[in-house]
Symmetry: C2
Subunit: 221 residues, 2 copies
């Protein structure tokens, strides 16, 4: 995340809270699906393995309060969480790099359920440009600027080879994009006022391998 | 991550370090690709926007030291990082849930470059079971246990609908899996000694939407 933002904007939630809210939403949606109507803060805390006081604090940012002895109303909780998290609105995005990971993400309809609307792909490969992936048209990089304007795109997703990540970030920002979702392991740099979210899938792998190796040979070396 | 592990195992690196190392690797690989042979710690620090002392500390876990006035040898640095991060070895994995996101990840050849070898998929949908996705065979859930043994699978990737996540985690652990990579927004619970890595793509979206909304209307409400 772009840390410059946190000091100047009042609605900015702490990132740990923002990361927990989708867990709550997933859990609440599941209970509701099972026909449950209310949930106590104690059950929430137990099932999610998060402190009850932490949950209460997180939900207070959304102005949601549980009722004594009744708990939270699930329908209300789900709706408020969805609205608050932005999953109920549509955010137009462009996928830069429609190769392996990029194409995979374009095929993931799950992103759509969470309000991300990938309206176009960009790829330097002339064999990909002018094709469609899951109905989403792919364009050459020269089209970027006018696509961003024409399709009202706010989010640029970066799924290019690592050595191109910074250049792509620069051209996305140049085209007027306000938020970058970076899937490369490269740390990109942007001017203040641009949101950067890093999802480094491969970093998670490294953490997992390390933990796994230490389970297997817990006291060697 | 399973926090029980951190207190008992000596090789366990701090997670922030483990997450930075793949950035260093990506950057080093890029410089090497450009024909560069040495890099000073100052340039590393500047280009990665990480404190030079932090980089030195992170790399000291790998017993890598830069040479005064010369810096780090890139070939050595790349090789050591790759080995250390486990990207140079093969880790067999099963993908549970070969639907939208699961199939997408099975198609991402990038994972393979980072040592993750998805050898099988599992899906309850009889139309998916007994097919192949990018050459990887998909089986019904009843085959899980014997697949894990036969194919020496250590890692289970969870990409099922959220309400099935805990059940899938339980059956993976029951089948002998040691590490779970959870792509659902559900917080799964496991017995001590099992590694859990959460990659909640949708949580990252929530953080991004929130930051974006605050850029756009910085002082409203």
């Amino acid at each position: 995340m772009n840390e410059q933002e946190s000091s100047t904007t009042p609605n900015l939630l702490p990132e740990p809270t923002l990361r927990r809210l989708p867990w709550y939403l997933a859990y609440v949606a599941m209970l509701k699906h099972e026909g449950v109507e209310k949930v106590s803060s104690r059950r929430l805390a137990e099932d999610l393995a998060v402190d009850a006081s932490q949950i209460a604090k997180d939900l207070s940012f959304l102005k949601i309060k549980g009722k004594t002895r009744i708990g939270y109303d699930l329908a209300e909780l789900e709706e408020t969480l969805k609205q608050f998290l932005g999953f109920a609105s549509t955010h137009n995005a462009v996928m830069v790099g429609a190769g392996s990971l990029g194409a995979a993400l374009m095929c993931d309809s799950g992103l759509n359920h969470y309000g991300l609307n990938i309206v176009a792909g960009i790829d330097t490969n002339p064999q990909l440009a002018d094709t469609c992936i899951k109905g989403i048209p792919v364009f050459p990089p020269s089209e970027l600027s006018q696509l961003v304007k024409r399709l009202d795109i706010q989010i640029g997703i970066i799924a290019v080879p690592v050595e191109q990540a910074q250049d792509v970030a620069d051209s996305l920002v140049g085209a007027g994009i306000k938020a970058l979702w970076n899937f490369t392991p490269r740390r990109i740099r942007v001017k203040p006022g641009i949101v950067v979210s890093n999802t480094s899938i491969y970093s998670h792998l490294a953490v997992m391998y390390n933990r796994l190796a230490n389970i297997e040979t817990p006291r060697v070396q």
